[in-house]
Amino acid sequence: MIDIRGLTKTYENGTRALRDVSFEVEEGDIFAFIGPNGAGKTTTIRVLVTLLEPTGGEAFVGGEDVVRYPDRVRHLIGYMPDDFGVYHGVRVWEYLDFFAAAYRMPKLQRRRAIDDVMALTDLSPLRERMVESLSKGMRQRLCLAKTLVHDPRVLILDEPAAGLDPRARIEFRALLRTLSGMGKTIMISSHILTELREICNACCIIERGRILASGNVDEMTEKLMPVRIIMVKMLNKAEQAAAELLKIDGVLSAQVDGRNVRVEFQGADRQIHGLMKLLVDRELPVIGLEEKERDMEALFMRITKGELA
C-alpha cells in the first residue's frame, strides 16, 4: 500500500534528513514507524502526505506517485500530524463539515460521513460543542475524526498518542484496532514503543535518516532476539528440573530462583512443547510455564545502540 524506494531529502541548509530510505507497508497492516526524535520520521511522513518533495527517490501510496499525482494520493490518505491546531469559533460538526467540504464531498454525503465518524470516535455527544473548549484527548479524537471523514484507505498518524493520559491511550489503541478491522492500512510513527507492540504487525526502525530494520514484527523479534526467556514454575524439585532441562537441545542455561527455573532457550514454539513434555515424563511437578515478553523497547535498544545491556 505504501512503497518507499531510496528516498533522500536534503534541506536547503544542508541537513540530510533522509538517506536512502526504503520500506514497504502491506495493505491492512498496522505499521509502526519507530525512531528516536530527529531520526527522520516526520520528514518521511511529510513526503508521504505530499507536503514535502523529496530530493531523490520515489514514494508511492496505493500505487500512485506522491510527487507526480499528489491529488490522487490525498484522496487515499488521512493524515494526522504530531502537532496540530484547531480552528477557533466553530462547532465540532462544523469543523468536520469543513474538512469534508475541502475533500469536495457533496452536502448530503457530508452529513452522513460526519455522523459516521462521530459515532466511530465517540464524539456524537459533543456535536454542538465549540472546538476550542475540547480537552487534549478530545481534540486528538476530533483530529482523527477529521482524518477519517473522507474514508481514506491509508491512515498516516504522526505520534498520535503523544501527550495523552493512559486511559485515553488505551481507548485510542482500541480505536486503531477497530479501524484496522475495517480494512484500513495504518501507519503510526512513535518513539513510545510499548504501546505499539500489542497492536502493530509490522514495523520499521529509523535512525539518523537511515532505515535500520524493517519487516514483520514477529519475524524480526525472532531474528534479532533469538533467545527466549521461559520461566518454569515448579512445586518443588527445582534443582532437578534445571539439571534435566539443560540436557535439552536449544536450552542455553537454566537458573534456579526459589521455586522457579529461568530458562534461556533458543527455538520455536514446538520445542517448548517438547520441553514441557520432558518435565511431565520425568514426573517433575511443573505447575506453570510462562514466556517473558520480548518487547519492542528491548528490540529498539538492541538495534539502535548495539548489544542489549
Partner: protein, 654 residues
C-alpha cells in the same frame, strides 16, 4: 502520460477547439489581407491611417496566435505543457470551487460569532454617521441654499468616509488570514486535503469581500439621507459601491500576499498596513483629481457622469479602464504570489507570475495604441507630443522592468528535479516557452524577452507616430534614452543571475543586485556635484561619466531641442557620441556578466549533480553502527523488504 489520456478520448472537445482555431485563423488572415490591401491602395504604409492599421495587425497577430494555440491543443501538441494530473475537468471544477468555497463558510461562521466583526461594524457605522453629521452641519452653516448641492456634498463626504474606512478595515480582515493558519498549525491539515493553494487564497479573499459587502449593505440606510436632498442618482451609488469593492479586492490581495509570506501575524500586520498606505497614497492622486472634479461638478444630471461629460466615449473608456486595469494587475500578481507561497518549496513558483507580467505588458501596449486612436490620428498630435508620451510610458515602465530584472533571474540556481523535468519536456517547437519557466538563465532570457517586447513595442509604435516629426528627433530619443535603459536592465538581470549562482537565496540575490544596480544608477549623479566643484578638463570627463547613469539617459531623452548628440573626444582626435560610449560600456558589461553567470550556473549544476551521485553511492557503504549487521539480516528475508538493487545500509557487513 496524463496529457495523452486527456487528448485522446475527447473527439467533441477536439472538434470544438479545431473549429475555434479555424475561425480565429480566418479572422487573422482577413485582418492581414485588409492591411495589405489598404497599403497597396494608398500606395504607402506610413500615412494617416497607420495607427488603425497597426491595431489591425495587432488584432491579426493575437487571433493568429490564438488560432495556433487552439489547433495545437486539439492535436495534442500541448500535452507536454501539463505534466501533472489535475483531478476533475478544469473548468466546471473551478466554477464549483469559486461558488462554494468551504473556507468562506468556515471563516464566516467563526467571524460572525467573534467580537472583531461586531466591533469593526460599530466603528464603521459611527464614523460614517459622524462624517455625514459634520458634512450636514457645515452645509447648513454655509450659504449653500441649493438642496441638490447639499445632497452632493453629503454624498461626497460619504464617499470619502466609506472608502477610507473600508480600505483601512480590509487589511484587518485579510492580513492575518494565512499567518493564523500557520501559527495555529492548521495549514498542514488544510493542504493535505484536495483543496488547491489558489482555492485557499480565493476563499480567504471571498470572506474579506463578503465582510465588506455586509458593511456596505448596512451603510445603505445612512446614505439614503443624501437622496432626501437630491442631486445624486442611484447610479452614482452603484458606481461608488463597485469602486469600493474593487479597492477591497486589490488591498486584500496585497494583504493576503504579505500574510502568505510572513511567518508571524505581527510582522504581517505591520507590512500590510504600510503597503496599503503606499497604495492608497498612489491611488488617491487619481481619486483626488476625480473627486475634485466630482465635487465641483454639476455639468450633468449624475454627479459622476458630470466628470465624464467633458470627454467623448473613447476617452471615457480609457479613463475608466486604465486605473481599473492597474488595480487588476496588482490583484492578479498578488493572488499568484500568495498561492505560490503555499505550494511546496520545490514547486514551480514563477511561471504564473511571468505570464501575468507579460499579459500586463501586452495590455499596456494595447492601451498605449488605443490612446493614439483616441487622439484621432497623427493630424491632431501636437509637435513633440508623442515623444513625451513615450518618455512618460518609459518612466512608468522602468521601475517595473527593474523589479522584474531583479526578481526573475535571481530564482533558484539549482532547479528542483520536478521543475527541471518540466523544462526538459518543452522541446521542439515549444522551446521558446521555456522563458516562462523558473531558473536563473531562463530568468535572464525572460527579462530580455520582456524588454524587447516592452521597450521595443513602445519604440516601434512611437517611431511610426514620429514620422512627421523628423528622423533626427527619433534617433535622438531612442539612442539617448531607450538603448541605455535597455542595456542597463539586461546588465541588472545578469548581476542578479550572478549573485544567485554564488549561492545566494532567491530573495538575497535580488536584494544584493538591487543594491549594486542602485549604486550604478544613482552613483554617477554624485559625479555631477564633483564636476561642479573642480575646473579644467577633469571636470568635463566627470561630466561625461555621469551620462552612464540610466536615469540621466532617460532625462536627456526628454529634453530634445534640435541639439546634436554630446560627444566625447578621444585621444586620437576622434569624436564619439556619448550614447555610443554608454551603450558600449553597458553592452560589454552585460555580455561579460551574462557569460560569467552562465558559466557559474553550469558549474553549480554540475557540482550539484555530482553531490547527488556521491550521496547515493556513499549511502551504500557500511555505516559506522555496531548494530548494522543485525539490521541487515532482518532486511533481506522480510519478503516485503526493499528492492534488491538498493541494498540497505551495511549489507556488506553482514
Amino acid at each position: 502520460m496524463s496529457g495523452d489520456e486527456r487528448t485522446s478520448g475527447e473527439p467533441l472537445r477536439r472538434g470544438v477547439l479545431l473549429a475555434v482555431g479555424a475561425i480565429l485563423g480566418i479572422g487573422a488572415l482577413t485582418s492581414f489581407i485588409f492591411v495589405i490591401r489598404t497599403a497597396v491602395a494608398s500606395g504607402a504604409v506610413m500615412e494617416y491611417a497607420i495607427a488603425y492599421n497597426l491595431a489591425r495587425v495587432g488584432a491579426g497577430l493575437v487571433s493568429g496566435a490564438g488560432s495556433l494555440a487552439c489547433i495545437a491543443h486539439a492535436l495534442g501538441w500541448t500535452s507536454r505543457l501539463w505534466t501533472r494530473e489535475r483531478s476533475g475537468s478544469g473548468f466546471d471544477r473551478s466554477i464549483w470551487v469559486a461558488l462554494q468555497s468551504p473556507i468562506l463558510v468556515r471563516e464566516m461562521r467563526a467571524l460572525l460569532r467573534g467580537r472583531k466583526f461586531f466591533v469593526s461594524h460599530m466603528l464603521l457605522m459611527t464614523i460614517l454617521a459622524g462624517v455625514l453629521l459634520i458634512a450636514a452641519t457645515t452645509a447648513a452653516a454655509g450659504a449653500q441654499k441649493d438642496p441638490a448641492q447639499v445632497g452632493k456634498i453629503l454624498f461626497g463626504s460619504f464617499f470619502v468616509g466609506l472608502s477610507v474606512v473600508v480600505i483601512f478595515l480590509v487589511p484587518a480582515f485579510s492580513c492575518t488570514a494565512i499567518t493564523t493558519e500557520r501559527e495555529g498549525k492548521t495549514l498542514d491539515l488544510l493542504l493535505t486535503t484536495t483543496i488547491r493553494p489558489w482555492e485557499v487564497v480565493w476563499g480567504k479573499l471571498l470572506s474579506a469581500l463578503v465582510v465588506i459587502l455586509l458593511f456596505m449593505a448596512s451603510a445603505l440606510p445612512l446614505v439614503t439621507i443624501c437622496f432626501l436632498f437630491g442631486g445624486v442618482s442611484p447610479w452614482d451609488l452603484a458606481i461608488l459601491y463597485l469602486g469600493v469593492l474593487f479597492s477591497t479586492l486589490v488591498v486584500s490581495s496585497v494583504s493576503l500576499a504579505v500574510s502568505a509570506h510572513c511567518r508571524e501575524s505581527k510582522s504581517s500586520v505591520v507590512i500590510s498596513y504600510v503597503l496599503t498606505l503606499i497604495i492608497v497614497v498612489l491611488m488617491s492622486v487619481l481619486s483626488v483629481a476625480l473627486s475634485a472634479a466630482f465635487l465641483s461638478g454639476g455639468r450633468g444630471a449624475g454627479a459622476i457622469a458630470a466628470v465624464m461629460a467633458g470627454f467623448d466615449w473613447k476617452e471615457q473608456l480609457l479613463i475608466t479602464i486604465v486605473p481599473q486595469f492597474v488595480g487588476l494587475s496588482i490583484f492578479a500578481a498578488n493572488f499568484a504570489a500568495a498561492s505560490n507561497r503555499l505550494k511546496p518549496a520545490t514547486a514551480n513558483r514563477s511561471t504564473n507570475l511571468r505570464v501575468i507580467w507579460t499579459v500586463f505588458l501586452l495590455i499596456c501596449l494595447f492601451f498605449y495604441s488605443m490612446s493614439v486612436l483616441v487622439e484621432g490620428g497623427l493630424g491632431k498630435i501636437p509637435a513633440g507630443g508623442w515623444p513625451g508620451l513615450l518618455t512618460v510610458a518609459m518612466i512608468c515602465a522602468a521601475p517595473l522592468l527593474w523589479l522584474g530584472a531583479l526578481y526573475f533571474p535571481a530564482e533558484e540556481t539549482i532547479l528542483p528535479p520536478r521543475v527541471a523535468d518540466d523544462i526538459r519536456r518543452l522541446g521542439g517547437p515549444l522551446v521558446p516557452l521555456r522563458v516562462f519557466m523558473p531558473g536563473p538563465m531562463t530568468g535572464l532570457a525572460y527579462t530580455v524577452f520582456f524588454l524587447l517586447l516592452g521597450l521595443g513595442g513602445l519604440t516601434l509604435f512611437n517611431s511610426v507616430c514620429l514620422v512627421g516629426a523628423g528622423m533626427d528627433e527619433w534617433v535622438w530619443r531612442n539612442m539617448s534614452a531607450v538603448v541605455p535603459l535597455t542595456l542597463f536592465l539586461i546588465t541588472t538581470a545578469a548581476i542578479a543571475a550572478l549573485f544567485s549562482s554564488f549561492g545566494f537565496t532567491h530573495r538575497g540575490a535580488g536584494l544584493a543586485a538591487f543594491g549594486v544596480t542602485a549604486v550604478l544608477a544613482f552613483g554617477p549623479l554624485i559625479l555631477l556635484l564633483c564636476a561642479d566643484a573642480i575646473a579644467g578638463p577633469a571636470s568635463s570627463t566627470l561630466w561625461n561619466l555621469h551620462y552612464l547613469s540610466p536615469v540621466v539617459a532617460m532625462i536627456s531623452g526628454w529634453e530634445w531641442g534640435g541639439s546634436a548628440f554630446k560627444s566625447v573626444n578621444l585621444p586620437g582626435g576622434l569624436a564619439v557620441p556619448l550614447w555610443a560610449v554608454t551603450a558600449l560600456v553597458y553592452s560589454c558589461s552585460s555580455v561579460g556578466l551574462w557569460a560569467w553567470a552562465g558559466l557559474r550556473v553550469a558549474r553549480v549544476r554540475a557540482r550539484w549533480r555530482r553531490q547527488l551521485a556521491a550521496a547515493s553511492t556513499s549511502d551504500q557503504r557500511p555505516a559506522p553502527n555496531p548494530a548494522v549487521p543485525v539490521a541487515a539480516v532482518v532486511r533481506g528475508p522480510g519478503g516485503a523488504a526493499g528492492p534488491v538493487d538498493q541494498p540497505g545500509p551495511g549489507s556488506e557487513g553482514a
